[in-house]
């Protein structure tokens, strides 16, 4: 009988190749009439979005694509992504598959679901326990607020650690800013309104400033930071859970511990979700093919498919069923991977900025934050003002 | 097969390089185009070859108008000053190229396949090449590349490439000018002999008058885009049609002295009356005397006198550069060094005053327009 072929593309081959290599045989066993062809992987989320935009012009879109959570909005706005509502409607017991609402929200736009999250990361802290011990800290009393972090820095520096902290402000430009905003339970954009001008905004900026200055943090690029951390020079590193694999692979001879992301004065009240979601971008008119694409999309985001994400990467699956049922022993076996799961209730949207200038906004924020690290900006209030003005100017209502 | 050019005109941009040149070359003739640099010799030759298209005029070969025919279809062979051998091909391949292009089909010319397909034909071509190589005595060099040859050998290889195809005529553009003096003299006689052997038309461009004088049946002296005089070499040497031709032909150059014909029709040179009347109107003249027609004479019997300013002894000849007593005329005279040594002890030292006599029969008279007076002394003498 006819085999239906669908095309599929995803980012970060060195991370996800193994995941899909494990999923594919299972899928083929379950659906022998569908053949999934993998396209060249995207180098990064940005590359993924740009590629899809180009392919939309060329008319060579794949059927299913994995996009960064904050990149979904663009594809929806430009009408490239297809709504998944019709397919969800067909599913009799969609909820039972384990998609819980918070996760579905990440892919919901104008009340319609466009993307199903596949792998989720959250910001966490990585600690070199050997160094932390020098500051007199152990597993039980790792810092929970940024103030504590700064205090720890001082102790560490006294103990001869030149470079106590690396705080990943540079990850995708604005993720950590959103993290500080969500910590205070404040979204960064509301509609077309940039909320940095509110008091929470200033708090977020000042917190960063305190960390960078208080810890005399070097402006490291991620690879350099990873190298320094692996070499045992950095004690505390704040970054995405997704890097766990890379960190463990490269780590030197010290005890590594991940722990919850600290908050401002208290534990965070929310954190932005990183990771990617599966979107349907097929241009096919053939219902059978669309159906096949949906089948694949559903397979990888639920059940055994999703579980492989946790097994093979530092990410966690966004699927309740997968996390709670399938992976129970797994997390006890790999406690460092569990930190993110513990933070799951804090999961919030990784917000995109609306309009054509959305990506340029990210850049403006990135540049602003970088100014704090490099010491270009010291007055947070004026930075707050500048950033707000510039970003608002780029957002649709501003023009 | 007769070649004729008529009314050939050619301009580059706004400068007219050729101004209506006519030239007819008989079958088997050796014609030399000679003239100063830039006078248009090469251009004329290139027009004849078809490499350049004239702005006006006709080129005919054997009565057929070929003005618009491609060079390849005129069956002329050309030898270039720089030889223009294909540097990447051996001498044999160089010589074979025109044959291949003419006699083989496109398929047969293919690099590896060709020789297999048409073994017979290739063998025939190779025989032809070998024949030409023997004539030129370069059989041993056939497998060398041009870079491995000396100047004279390259010259011969280039000739060979021209010869193999039995062209209607050979066109040569200063083929010897890249050779050193001794080799040039040698190749001169080789070319002449080749011409006699092949009995093909040669049209030969040079600015070296020695080549033109020694090799050609007829020579054409070109200047400023026009042919000034056309005729056998000795006619041109002995009866130059104009001052320009006279000055160009002969080495060292002809001596030109101011003179005039007075009311009685008597000639005087540098103010000194000569004893005969060239039968022309009263006019100022330029009087030409070749160095070999002047002789040292005892002061008494001499017509002129002057000081020796410089002497060049070439072994066989000795050229004396004299400054005449009038102070601003310089002449060169040739004498036999042995004779001179005998006649004047130690041979006319620099600065000494010597007498000079001129054979009136050997004067060339040019009118104020620069043209030869037809009734010049020597011609008269001949008729007499």
């Amino acid at each position: 009988e006819d085999k239906i072929t669908i095309e599929f593309a995803y980012p970060y081959s060195h991370l996800f190749d193994v995941t899909y290599q494990k999923i594919l045989p299972m899928f083929e066993a379950a659906h022998p009439n569908i053949e999934v062809q993998f396209r060249a992987t995207y180098e990064s989320y940005e590359d993924g979005t740009n590629t899809i935009l180009r392919e939309a012009v060329a008319g060579t879109l794949p059927d299913v694509t994995m996009q960064g959570l904050n990149r979904q909005a663009i594809l929806v706005e430009k009408g490239i992504a297809k709504s998944l509502e019709p397919f969800i409607a067909e599913e009799p017991d969609f909820a039972r598959e384990g998609y819980h609402q918070a996760m579905l929200d990440l892919g919901t736009f104008q009340n319609r679901v466009y993307g199903l999250p596949f792998s989720i990361s959250l910001p966490v802290g990585y600690y070199n326990m050997d160094l932390m011990a020098k500051a007199g800290l152990d597993e039980s009393n790792l810092p929970t607020t940024w103030a504590e972090v700064v205090a720890t820095c001082e102790k560490l520096r006294e103990a001869g650690v030149d470079n106590p902290v690396f705080w990943g402000w540079n990850i995708t430009g604005n993720w950590f800013l959103q993290a500080l905003m969500w910590s205070q339970d404040k979204p960064t954009v509301m509609g077309a309104d940039f909320t940095l001008d509110e008091p929470q905004g200033l708090t977020a900026l000042s917190t960063m400033h305190d960390i960078f200055r208080g810890c005399e943090m070097q402006n490291l690029e991620w690879k350099a930071a990873l190298a320094s951390f692996s070499a045992g020079e950095i004690a505390m590193m704040y970054w995405s859970t997704s890097a766990l694999g890379a960190v463990e692979r490269a780590q030197g001879d010290f005890a590594l511990k991940t722990n919850e992301f600290p908050g401002i004065e208290r534990a965070p009240r929310g954190l932005p979700a990183g990771g990617n979601a599966a979107m349907l971008v097929s241009t096919s008119e053939d219902p059978a093919e669309l159906e096949a694409a949906w089948t694949w999309l559903k397979f990888i985001t639920s059940g055994e498919g999703a579980a492989e994400v946790a097994r093979t990467t530092g990410y966690m699956p966004p699927n309740k069923a997968a996390n709670e049922i399938i992976l129970k022993d797994f997390y006890t076996q790999f406690p460092n991977k569990e930190t993110a799961v513990r933070q799951l209730p804090l999961l919030r949207e990784w917000q995109a900025y609306p309009g054509d200038n959305g990506l340029a906004v990210t850049q403006v924020i990135y540049d602003g934050l970088e100014g704090i690290v490099t010491g270009e900006h010291d007055d947070m209030e004026s930075l707050q003002e500048d950033l707000t003005e510039e970003v608002q100017d780029l957002l649709p209502s501003g023009s | 097969m007769q070649i004729s050019l008529s009314g050939i005109a050619k301009s580059f941009g706004t400068t007219a390089v050729l101004k209506g040149v006519d030239l007819t070359v008989a079958a088997g003739e050796f014609v030399t185009l000679v003239g100063p640099s830039g006078c248009g010799k090469s251009t004329l030759l290139r027009i004849l070859a078809g490499l350049e298209r004239p702005d006006g005029g006709r080129v005919e070969i054997d009565g057929r108008d070929v003005t618009a025919v491609r060079p390849a279809d005129r069956n002329l062979a050309m030898v270039f000053q720089s030889y223009a051998l294909y540097p990447h091909l051996s001498v044999e391949e160089n010589m074979m190229t025109p044959l291949k292009l003419r006699d083989l089909t496109r398929l047969q010319r293919l690099p590896l396949v060709g020789p297999l397909l048409a073994r017979q034909r290739y063998r025939a071509l190779r025989r032809q090449v070998r024949g030409a190589a023997e004539t030129l005595k370069i059989e041993d060099l056939l497998s060398r590349k041009p870079g491995q040859l000396s100047g004279g050998q390259r010259q011969r290889a280039a000739l060979g490439r021209a010869m193999v195809r039995n062209p209607v005529a050979f066109l040569m553009d200063e083929p010897l000018s890249n050779l050193d003096a001794a080799l040039r003299v040698h190749m001169r006689s080789e070319l002449s002999q080749l011409h006699r052997r092949l009995a093909t038309t040669f049209i030969y461009v040079t600015h070296d008058q020695a080549e033109a004088l020694t090799m050609s049946d007829r020579m054409a002296v070109m200047m400023h885009g026009a042919i000034l005089q056309l005729g056998p070499p000795d006619e041109i040497y002995n009866s130059p049609a104009s001052v320009e031709v006279a000055r160009f032909v002969g080495s060292p150059a002809i001596n030109l002295l101011p003179g005039e014909i007075d009311g009685q029709g008597r000639l005087s040179v540098l103010g000194r009356p000569f004893s005969w009347a060239p039968a022309a109107e009263r006019q100022p003249l330029l009087v030409g005397v070749r160095p070999e027609h002047m002789a040292l004479a005892p002061e008494g019997s001499a017509q002129f006198s002057g000081f020796v300013r410089h002497r060049e002894n070439l072994g066989a000849d000795l050229f004396l550069h004299l400054e005449l007593s009038d102070g601003n005329t310089k002449v060169i005279l040739r004498c036999d060094p042995a004779v001179l040594a005998e006649r004047t002890q130690g041979g006319a030292a620099l600065g000494t005053r010597v007498g000079l006599s001129i054979d009136p029969q050997c004067l060339h008279l040019f009118g104020s327009n620069g043209r030869r007076l037809t009734s010049a002394a020597r011609d008269l003498a001949r008729i007499a």
């Binding site: 992987t41 694999g245 692979r249 | 720089s82 294909y86 540097p87």
Partner: protein, 309 residues
């Protein structure tokens, strides 16, 4: 201050290593050390395990101690079966994970077709610009000079859209077409042809060659050194090009060129797989170095003749 006068009187009395000569070697060796430093790092990393790379340990060649291959473990194998030697791991991964042989083949196909087409297009044009007189020649040459200035990155998107409209993305054609015209090639070859004597061309015409066969039978063989020089420039540029293939090849990996092989190991925010990446880099650069060594003599000769003196 440099002793440029080779014919200096000291020349003939020169010992194999005079003081000046030694000093020159010292300077050049210092330069060579700096130039080679990254290559040393590259080769050295291609032999090391991830931990050694990150912590800068293991000496120049790595300790070659066994380490665990996570990828293998994740695929469900027992950890003890997944112990590998770094050097072997890095190079085998380079060839397995990224089908590097296939990429190398693609690289050869693409660079060779680009070069061949560039030659086919540029050579006649350069010949016409150098040796034929025709109306508009100066204008065309001016255009060539102008086009020399155009950066590819600036026209990438319009070009992509044009290719997309023709349905040519994700094909060898897409990789080749934008480079079919090399203004640099035209420029270089024209300069070279200017030095070829006119007589040679006229001789070929007299021999009965058409203009077309003059180009291929006379100019081409004469221009081999210049072509070699151009070939090195062209091949180096397109063999190493990362930007353009990344833009047009979005479909199957079957069309990847060698540098795209690097991207398998490029991980951005999540850490890269450096060992295999460096191994790949070593493999990619090797053919070029070999080619350069083979071509070097005539290559420099080629530029010498191209009127850049």
């Amino acid at each position: 201050m440099v002793d440029t006068a080779v014919a200096a009187p000291t020349g003939s009395a020169r010992l194999p290593f005079s003081a000046a000569e030694t000093l020159k070697h010292v300077v050049l060796i210092l330069g060579a050390v700096i130039v080679l430093l990254p290559f040393y790092v590259m080769v050295s990393y291609s032999l090391k395990s991830p931990a050694e790379i990150m912590q800068n340990q293991g000496g120049p060649l790595g300790s070659q101690e066994l380490f665990r291959d996570d990828f293998c473990v994740k695929l469900g194998n027992a950890p003890e079966d997944c112990m590998v030697r770094p050097a072997i791991y890095n190079y085998t991964t380079a060839f397995e994970k990224a089908p590097l042989l296939r990429y190398l083949l693609n690289g050869v196909i693409v660079t060779v077709s680009i070069f061949v087409i560039q030659v086919i297009v540029a050579l006649p044009c350069a010949y016409a610009l150098a040796k034929l007189r025709f109306w508009g020649r100066e204008a065309v040459f001016g255009l060539v000079l102008f086009c020399l200035l155009i950066p590819v990155h600036a026209i990438a998107l319009p070009l992509y859209i044009m290719l997309a409209k023709l349905g040519l993305t994700n094909s060898y054609a897409a990789l080749v077409i934008p480079w079919t015209i090399s203004v640099f090639g035209i420029f270089l070859m024209r300069q070279f042809f200017m030095t070829v004597p006119d007589d040679l061309i006229d001789a070929a015409r007299m021999d009965g060659m058409s203009e077309y066969s003059i180009i291929w039978n006379v100019m081409l063989p004469t221009a081999i050194p210049a072509l070699l020089a151009f070939g090195i420039f062209s091949v180096v540029a397109h063999w190493n090009d990362y930007f353009w293939p990344r833009i047009v090849v979005t479909g199957s990996r079957e069309l990847f060129t060698p540098p795209l092989g690097l991207r398998e190991f490029k991980g951005d925010a999540d850490g890269d797989n450096f060992g295999p990446m460096m191994a790949t880099a070593c493999i990619i650069v090797t053919p070029l170095v070999v080619a350069f060594l083979l071509a070097q003599r005539r290559f420099i000769e080629g530029i010498t003749l191209t009127g850049l003196k």
